[in-house]
């Protein structure tokens, strides 16, 4: 079992609003992401999923509303981010650094907290990828490095944006097992993906965003009951067609 260093926090978004010029990315989002569970974040393109994740990471400042992590507002201080592990979509690392140097850099920035969870790092480094400059690595190998970094610091809250994108089926299976294991160890996971099968496999809760508004938030089973559909994909299509829930 994988131990989690920081206690798994619940995340609460309260009346979160964000506009980019004329575009409303988040239009009063109220969600509670339960601690110690895997929550899937889904929605059509441009629904505001990325903006929501970036607000939580402190990359985007919301216009209104607040985000609570384990009951405390995150505010503008950065210290709360030591509880976070982030896997961005389509990562790019400094071209001329090796995988090991990228990892060392992040470890240095985190103040070198021990002991790190090197399970995925060992997996990434299996074929000597740690010693090669990042620019020569394939997209899938880079995604492994991305995953290894996110899990390295035993975060209480994992934010995974399309985690299995670019991974082959075997690698994708290993990563999904890892996600389940840290969840069992008590971590909170917020997962965004377009692969419905993957979400059905991993997620317990689901947040469905459409045009910056929450269309559904609750357990996965509840969504299927409400729509009378057994497949996640169909259930969401029904919700989309119905308009406002």
């Amino acid at each position: 079992m994988t131990a989690v260093a920081s206690a798994a926090p619940a995340v609460e978004f309260r009346a979160l609003r964000k506009r980019f010029g004329r575009l409303t990315a988040l239009d009063g989002v109220d969600i509670r992401v339960a601690a110690g569970r895997v929550t899937a974040l889904v929605g059509p393109n441009g629904a505001g999923k990325s903006t929501l994740i970036k607000c939580l990471l402190g990359l985007v400042r919301p216009d209104e509303g607040s985000i609570l992590l384990g009951g405390t507002p995150i505010g503008t201080e950065w210290a709360y981010r030591s509880a976070l592990g982030y896997m961005p979509q389509a990562p790019r690392f400094p071209d001329n650094l090796t995988g090991r140097e990228v990892v060392e850099m992040l470890r240095d920035l985190r103040g070198g907290i021990a002991p790190a969870d090197v399970e995925l790092l060992d997996w990434f480094g299996e074929s000597g990828a740690l010693e090669r400059p990042v620019r020569v690595l394939s997209g899938g190998t880079r995604q492994k490095l991305n995953a290894a970094i996110a899990f390295l610091f035993r975060p209480g809250l994992l934010i995974l944006d399309e985690p299995t994108a670019g991974l082959d089926p075997v690698a994708s299976g290993i990563l999904k097992d890892k996600i389940r294991r840290v969840r069992d160890a008590g971590a909170t996971v917020l997962l965004s993906s377009h692969l419905m099968a993957e979400l059905e496999e991993l997620a317990e809760d689901l947040v469905f965003l459409v045009e910056g508004k929450v269309r559904y938030a609750g357990p996965l089973s509840g969504l299927k009951e409400r729509t009378g559909e057994s497949g996640l994909e169909r259930a969401m299509a029904v919700l989309l067609r119905r308009g406002g829930a």
Binding site: F20, K54, S82, F93, L97, L109
Partner: protein, 263 residues
């Protein structure tokens, strides 16, 4: 502070290993070396290098800088998602860009002088000024690059304005001043021209060198005005101060935009 040095450490590794920086260093080295082999005298080499430093160093700094900041965009986001402050991260990113370029310039121009130059009167002063001008221009134009790349999310727009700013400073500005002088030739123009010169870092670099070489009067209008107005030493301090300000202002602006930006 600790965050800044930690970011800096790895950024230095990354930028210093980039092929572009290597090519830049080699180009400056070979050029200086060749000038020595053909021209001989150290003082003349300094003079020949003047225009290269004034035009090429800003171009490389602003173009490489802008492209570098754009290419580091995704990784910067990953770094921002770590428990670090934006202020210290920004400082680390800027120094990680500016210091390797400054080092490349210093090594590319300086090493051939160490190899070839014989100790002679009137060499070290101008050489020191040349290196100072090049270093300050590197810091000014990398600061501008940071500002543009952070301000514009669109890469084409950022790179386009970087090139435009270089073109403006290197080529158009002098033409504009000349045009102004001919248009208003009946009026006393010393002060306006002086003020305009203080706004262009490339002009300032030139003036700095000319004041040092004591040929200011022979080398164009602005140089002559400067010497007449300030005298050599006050003029030099004014120019140095103006260049430092031109590095600090875009840097502060870029830092401000960076701290408030939505990534």
């Amino acid at each position: 502070m600790r965050t800044t040095t930690r970011v800096l450490k790895y950024e230095l590794h990354n930028v210093a290993r980039s092929r572009a920086v290597l090519v830049y260093t080699l180009f400056l080295f070979l050029l200086t070396d060749v000038l020595f082999r053909f021209g001989g005298e150290g003082a003349r080499v300094v003079l020949s290098l003047l225009n290269v430093v004034l035009l090429f160093v800003p171009l490389v700094s602003v173009v490489f800088g802008t492209m570098y900041v754009y290419s580091a965009r995704e990784f910067t986001e990953l770094l921002l998602a770590q428990p670090v402050g934006r202020r210290s991260l920004f400082a680390g990113l800027y120094l990680g860009l500016a210091l390797p370029l400054a080092g490349a310039f210093l090594a590319g121009v300086g090493v051939p002088f160490l190899i070839h130059a014989r100790p002679e009167a009137g060499l070290w002063g101008p050489l020191a000024m040349l290196l100072t001008a090049g270093l300050l221009l590197t810091f000014v134009f990398t600061a501008v690059a940071m500002l543009l790349a952070i301000l514009f999310d669109d890469r084409a727009k950022g790179l386009g304005s970087a090139i435009l700013i270089w073109l403006g400073c290197a080529v158009l500005y002098d033409g504009l001043i000349l045009l102004l002088i001919t248009m208003f030739r009946d009026y006393p123009l010393e002060r306006p021209v002086l003020a305009l010169t203080l706004l262009n870092p490339i002009d300032l670099g030139r003036v700095l060198m000319l004041l040092q070489l004591d040929t200011a009067a022979l080398m164009g209008y602005t140089g002559a005005v400067f010497e007449k107005f300030f005298g050599t030493s006050v003029g030099r301090i004014t120019v140095l101060a103006a260049l430092v300000i031109q590095a600090i202002v875009p840097l502060l602006l870029a830092g401000r935009v960076f701290r408030r930006k939505d990534f």
